[in-house]
Symmetry: C2
Subunit: 457 residues, 2 copies
């Protein structure tokens, strides 16, 4: 009658840490990806310590049960989705900030700490943890690490990987390994830290992370500009990047996105805007001059309209258009978010090609993106009640990835593979790299217990 | 009579690319490491293209001959040293800069390009390739990548790994794999690029690299300060790092190093200096203010003497003390250079401990270092003609690594493992990590053909 796996976990971790109620399990099957299938889990476990994670993995291993680690399930690729009969390992109880060292510019955290909590805690000590995925109020550091999350400020500060100094990881075998170091530099052995970062729960469970911090920058000032064409906006973005200004944010919105925002809320965006740029500088005393220089660059590239903030409140308002993208698209239909990333020289062909794909498949594609890094989020918007539209949307979604690859880019700049893009990954990697990936997976997890079927099919 | 391996290589690559003259081979046995044994190579090959590297690896594989890849052999750990009966694969003919893209801030190079050549070529286009190991006039990009080389400007810009976007690598099997991408961001699959970076020729032969560039910074200004004690100098360095100034260089010299420099050349360094800091800012219009602020910080931490440069020439002169370290130590004896890296909070215990080790083993230990990153180069100086001194020097060399590990640091911040520190690596990693390393090595190179015995014994 009673499930022996559940019984064993309860006796090891206590009743409160182990859930097998079908309704609760059901609410934990999915992350935020559209269209990714999710299986029916056998049990959900919430360990509180590394030792308990060891116990969970040993137990799962002895039962031959696959383990899906879950942070906040805000992922966009199905990587955290349940697999039939799996054990869901939630990090929600491992949510302690263990240390913030002002002297070493380092934080040591458990994986379930929410990004925003850490960011606020370090800011209180005048320190800065840059990685800022838009999900930062919900997503966990463990999830950010396992997906190598990006965000708005990567263009200046880099991605999550650039701030991970060292990890404690529990392997499929239940063995515990420490990678990396607290020190800023080190080259002893292979870079296991980087191998775990972005591995989407397929190589091990991250139970502790040592993160690099920086001195807190001053408040950022914003400039925003609209352009007649895609070409003008992209050329201005390239000029900003070439200038040595080091913007702390550089975002792009294409015409359909600008229009969607303006119909959602009147932001005074011109009806003939073919593209829009939003930029920030956080260089303190130089920020005002930076913003003026960015505005001048935009004008010299034919901007219709340029606005410069002179304080934090105006800066926030100018960024609002970017922040409204998700809300503005929601009323228009279901969204499928691409995540292609290309070299900047390929952005115009990418955007032109995306417009063509929209026409070809008769779907709306809105394209906001982290233009400074060439990482765009072409978002296919469609009516999910219309089966034909759904099919066209899925084809357009794939066509965008194909275009990104044709332009020498990648299918995913920051959202990851999960199950959503596992077949596309094979195309991107090619057979030799794919085989190396399989061998690395096998080296870490010979019985394929950790998140099987994710990343590698 | 004739060696069939040599014959086969000659027929594939042409006579000029294959050397089996014993005298020439003998001059290619060693890198710059002191005390690392080197074997007797069977042949030296200088392929000119990826296809030729494939041919070389296939041939070596079919003969079961180990392959040691060599860049400029400036390594400090014996990683490029010959192994008995090995094939030396020199990248000296693969020395083309294939592309410098101003628009994408990217360079594509062959592995044999010398760092300084690339740095100058990109500077001519107002771009900047930051990694600057002191060996930059000699060492190759391939060697820099395979060792993840650091340098003086890492404190602001990061290490070689931070500038490698993608690689072309020939595997032991002769298969060619492309890792990473030209785009700034990407999370498709495991981070094979980072796995290859720092792997010291044990996982594959790098045949092409796509490197990130930045807009060229303005010329740097220098400040230099001497302090009565180690504690004052380290505290001042910590304060500079905490200030948000982002120095582009922050170097430390301890008392024995300052004294060695002053006796080598009269730089006016005070006889009672217990430590010295040299810092730079390259923030253009802000550099003068930065340097003044650094000087003020140093004074507030009790500096005996502070100098601020007001132009490039004065800046160069203030940096001269740092540049003279090697020349100043040379007349004092043979050197064994440690490379420990610790969190900044551990620098005082590290330096105090190093002084104690010097006393205990009765050897001179000079300690210059990249203090901003906590990466120090305690250098044991001894008389190689004195066998007892040599033995004490070797023990001191090991004691320094042991101390670094005890303080939570690493045995190597930038010089790598090679054969010199292979046994110490096992201590640093511990058994679980070591086993993962072996499995990764096996995944890439199942027959252990690439640089066997290096990194992993
Ligand atoms: C509104 C919204 C905005 C977003 N904005 C961004 C953005 O700007 N940039 C961006 O990069 N992403 C963004 N995302 C995607 C998502 O938030 C990130 O991928 C985030 O890092 C996931 O964190 P999580 O805690 O929700 O992880 P989950 O979704 O729970 O898990 C993601 C993956 O990580 C694994 N994992 C989680 N914890 C661990 C652990 N401790 N050890 C090992 N593996 C683990 C899971 O198995 C899974 O494979 C956004 C998502 C939403 C819904
Ligand atoms: C005076 C001096 C100053 C130095 N200063 C610094 C410093 O500031 N910072 C620092 O980090 N190091 C420094 N070093 C160490 C050394 O210069 C670096 O490690 C450098 O990166 C080695 O480059 P190389 O071309 O000489 O490589 P080599 O010494 O020839 O090889 C080093 C390793 O890389 C491998 N390798 C070389 N090319 C390839 C390739 N194409 N594919 C795969 N593997 C390859 C070799 O097999 C070997 O394992 C210094 C050395 C000297 C002598």
């Amino acid at each position: 009658m009673s499930d022996p796996l559940v019984a064993r976990l309860r006796s090891a971790l206590g009743d409160g840490a182990v859930v097998d109620d079908a309704d609760v399990l059901d609410t934990h099957r999915n992350d935020h990806a559209t269209f990714c299938t999710a299986g029916v889990p056998r049990v959900l476990v919430r360990p509180s310590s590394t030792d308990e994670v060891v116990e969970v993995l040993r137990t799962a291993g002895s039962f031959g049960v696959p383990v899906v680690t879950q942070g906040a399930r805000t992922g966009l690729s199905g990587a955290a989705n349940a697999i039939d009969g799996c054990l869901l390992l939630s990090t929600s109880r491992m949510n302690q900030i263990l240390e913030i060292s002002v002297e070493d510019h380092v934080a040591v955290v458990q994986p379930g700490v929410v990004n925003a909590e850490l960011s606020r805690a370090v800011l209180a000590k005048e320190l800065f943890y840059p990685p800022d995925p838009s999900s930062w109020e919900m997503s966990t550091i463990g999830g950010n690490i396992a997906t190598n999350a990006g965000g708005l400020c990567c263009v200046k500060y880099g991605v999550t990987a650039d701030f991970v100094r060292g990890l404690e990881v529990v392997l499929a075998s239940g063995e515990v390994v420490r990678t990396g170091r607290r020190a800023a530099k080190g080259v002893a052995g292979y870079d296991l830290t980087r191998l775990i970062v972005g591995s989407e729960g397929t190589l091990g469970v991250v139970t502790e992370a040592t993160l690099a911090l920086r001195p807190a920058p001053e408040a950022a000032l914003t400039a925003a500009a609209t352009f007649r064409s895609i070409e003008d906006g992209i050329a201005a973005a390239a000029a900003v990047m070439a200038s040595g200004l080091r913007p702390s944010l550089l975002e792009f919105l294409d015409r359909p996105t600008v229009q969607a925002i303006q119909s959602y809320r009147d932001m005074g965006l011109p009806a003939d805007a073919g593209s829009m740029l939003i930029a920030q500088s956080d260089r303190g005393p130089r920020a005002a001059a930076d913003v003026a220089q960015i505005a001048a660059i935009c004008l010299s590239y034919g901007a219709i309209d340029v606005a410069e903030a002179s304080d934090a409140e105006e800066s926030r308002m100018l960024l609002e258009a970017r922040r409204l993208v998700n809300s503005a698209l929601e009323p228009l239909g279901t969204t499928l978010i691409d995540d292609v990333s290309v070299a900047r020289s390929q952005l115009v062909p990418l955007l032109r090609g995306i417009a063509e794909i929209g026409e070809k498949y008769q779907v709306l594609i809105c394209c906001p993106g982290h233009v400074g890094d060439g990482n765009m989020h072409p978002t296919v918007v469609f009516d999910r009640n219309d089966a034909a539209a759904e099919e066209r949307a899925l084809e357009a979604f794939g066509a965008v990835m194909e275009l990104g690859l044709r332009l020498g880019g990648t299918i995913t700049g920051e959202h990851g593979i999960g199950t959503l893009k596992a077949s596309w990954l094979e195309t991107e990697l090619g057979p030799v790299s794919l085989e190396l990936h399989r061998r690395i997976k096998h080296a870490f997890d010979p019985d394929n217990l950790l998140n099987p079927g994710k990343v590698l099919r």
